[in-house]
C-alpha cells in the first residue's frame, strides 16, 4: 500500500481539538469516556435487519 504522500492533516487536527466520540457496541467503553469527562454519544446498535442474515446480505448488496 503506498503511503508516500501521506495526508495526515485531519489527524493532527484531531490532536488539537476536543475528542468527541460516538460509541457503537460495548457500552463499557462509553462509560469509560464519561468517567474521564469526555463527550460521548452511546449508540443502541443492533445487528442489521434484526439479525436476519439473508435480508442483511441482500441489503448489503443493495448498498444500504
Amino acid at each position: 500500500m503506498s503511503t508516500k504522500n501521506m495526508n495526515v492533516e485531519k489527524i493532527t487536527e484531531l490532536f488539537s481539538r476536543d475528542l468527541i466520540v460516538i460509541n457503537m457496541g460495548l457500552e463499557v467503553f462509553a462509560d469509560t469516556l464519561k468517567k474521564e469527562g469526555g463527550r460521548v454519544l452511546p449508540m443502541d446498535w443492533r445487528p442489521p435487519a434484526g439479525g436476519n442474515e439473508k435480508l442483511s446480505s441482500l441489503l448489503k448488496r443493495l448498498g444500504r
Binding site: 500500500m1 503511503t3 501521506m6 495526508n7 495526515v8 492533516e9 485531519k10 489527524i11 493532527t12 484531531l14 490532536f15 481539538r17 476536543d18 475528542l19 468527541i20 466520540v21 460516538i22 460509541n23 457503537m24 457496541g25 460495548l26 457500552e27 463499557v28 467503553f29 462509553a30 469509560t32 469516556l33 468517567k35 474521564e36 469526555g38 454519544l41 452511546p42 449508540m43 443502541d44 446498535w45 443492533r46 445487528p47 442489521p48 434484526g50 439479525g51 436476519n52 448489503k60
Partner: protein, 523 residues
Amino acid sequence: MIKVLVEKDSYYDSVFLMLIASEVKKVPGVEEAVVSMGTEINTELLREIGFGCPEIEEATPNDLIIAVEAEDDQTLEQAFEKARELFSRKKIQRESAEAYRPVSLDTALKMMPEANLIIVSVPGRYAFREARRALEGGLHVMLFSDNVSLKEEIELKRLAAEKGLLMMGPDCGTAVINGKPLCFANTVRRGGIGLVAASGTGLQEVTCCIDELGQGISQAIGTGGRDLRPEVGGTMMLMGIEALKGDPQTEVIVVISKPPAEAVARNVINRLEETGKPCVVHFIGLAGAGSSSQSTGRVLYAGNLEEAAGMAVALLQGRSYRPRTFTLAEAEVKRLVEQEVAGMSGRQKYLRGLFTGGTLADEALILFEREIGGVYSNIQTKPELLLPDPQRSKEHTIVDLGDDLFTQGRPHPMIDPTIRVDRLRKEMEDSEVAVLLLDCVLGYGSHPDPAGAMRDSIVRAKEKAKQRGGYLAVAASVTGTEADLQDLQEQREKLESAGCIVMPSNYQAAMLALRIIQKGGGS
C-alpha cells in the same frame, strides 16, 4: 433441570451478557448458565453443552437467550429472577441516563455532527461494514472488534489513508487520544512522548512505565496487531508516525510491534528518521535488540517494553540512557533468588507463566526461549513447542489466557479473571512447578480487583507446595498507574501479602523468574 428462555428482539452487548451470566452462576445450586445473543456460534455452543431445544433453533442474533441448568425447580426460578432483576436494572439505568440512543450511524452523525472519532466494538461480522461507513462519514475509527479479515483490514486502511483518517484496528484494544483513554487503557499523565503500537498490552505496559518514571503521553495510537504485515504494509503505523511528527506536543516518538517483515521495518525506520525527532523502537523479540542496544542515527532500539519507556524518558530529558536489568541492586536480587529457592524440593524445576495480557506473555516467552529454550506455549511459533493440550501445562509453560482458545463464550481474563483462577487450581496440583509468573493489568476495561481475584489461589498454591515438602515461588508485576480506578499500591500489596515478589515491570518479573529457575531446586 434445564430451562431455556428466548426473548425476541432484545439486543445486549456481549460484555454485559457475560456479566449477567456470571451473576446468575453465583446463585447457589446453579450448575451452568449461559446468557447470550442467538448467533449461530452461540446456539451451536448451547447445543454442545446440552441446552438444545426448538426455541434456540429459531433464534436470531437479535434475540436474547437465557439458559440455566440447576439442581431443582426452585433454584431455576431463583436464577431467572436474578437475571430479570439485572436486566430491569439495566433498562432503568439506560432510560434515566440518556434521552435517545441512536440505532444507526446516520442518525448518530445527525445528532452529533461535531463527532470526530468512533469506537466500533460490534461483533466481527458486522464490523467491516460499520467501520467503512464511519470512515466515509469522515470519522476517525478505533475498531476494537476482531474477526475482521485481512482483506477487509486492507480495504479499510486504504480508505482511511485516502481520507487522511485514523483507522486504529481491527483488534485494537488500547489507545490514548488527547489524554482520553480508549477501551483498555490506563489513566496516564499527559506529556511529551507519543506512541504508535501494534500491541495492546505492550502499549499499556510502556505507557505505565513512562508514567511511573514521572513523564507523560501526548498520544498513544493503536494500529491493530496485523498492521506491520507485508500485505498491510504498516499503513497506520506510518500515518501515525507522520501525524506525531506534525504534533507540537510530541517531542519523542516510540514505536512498538512484533518484528515486521524487513521491507516494512525499513519503511518504519526511515519514516522515524525523517521526523527529525528522537525515536525509540521496540520490535518485540527481534534478534539484535537487547541490552546492547544499537543506535541508528535518531532511532534507538529497545530490548524490552520497560526499556522502551526508559529510553524515551531519557531522550525527553536530554540525557543518555543507562541500560539496567533490575531496579533493585544486584546483591538484593541475589538475596531474593536465594531466599526463593531455599525451600524448594528437588522435584521442582518448571516455570508456569499465566498471562492475561498477550504481549506480556510474548515478552516473557521470548526471554525464556532465548535464555533456556524448550518453553511450551499456546503462542509458540515453533510447532514442536505448541502445547498439545492448551488446558494443561507441560514442563516449562507460558500461556496467553486471552487467546481465543480459552475465551470461546467466556469473557477475556482481563475483564473476568476466572480463566486464570481455574488454571491456578490445576497448576497447584503439579509438584514439579517451581515458579509461577503472573501479570496483573489494571486500567479501564479491566477487572476492578485483579490481584484480589487471584490472591486466595496463590496462597493455596503455596500451601500445597509446602505440604508436599517444597516451596512455590511467585513473581508478578502490576501494569497500572496511580491514577487508575484500581488502587495500584493496594493491588501490589495484595499480591505481596500472598507471598508474591512484585517487580516494577513485566520484564523484571520475568527476569527474576528466570534467575530463580536457573538457580532452582531441580537444576
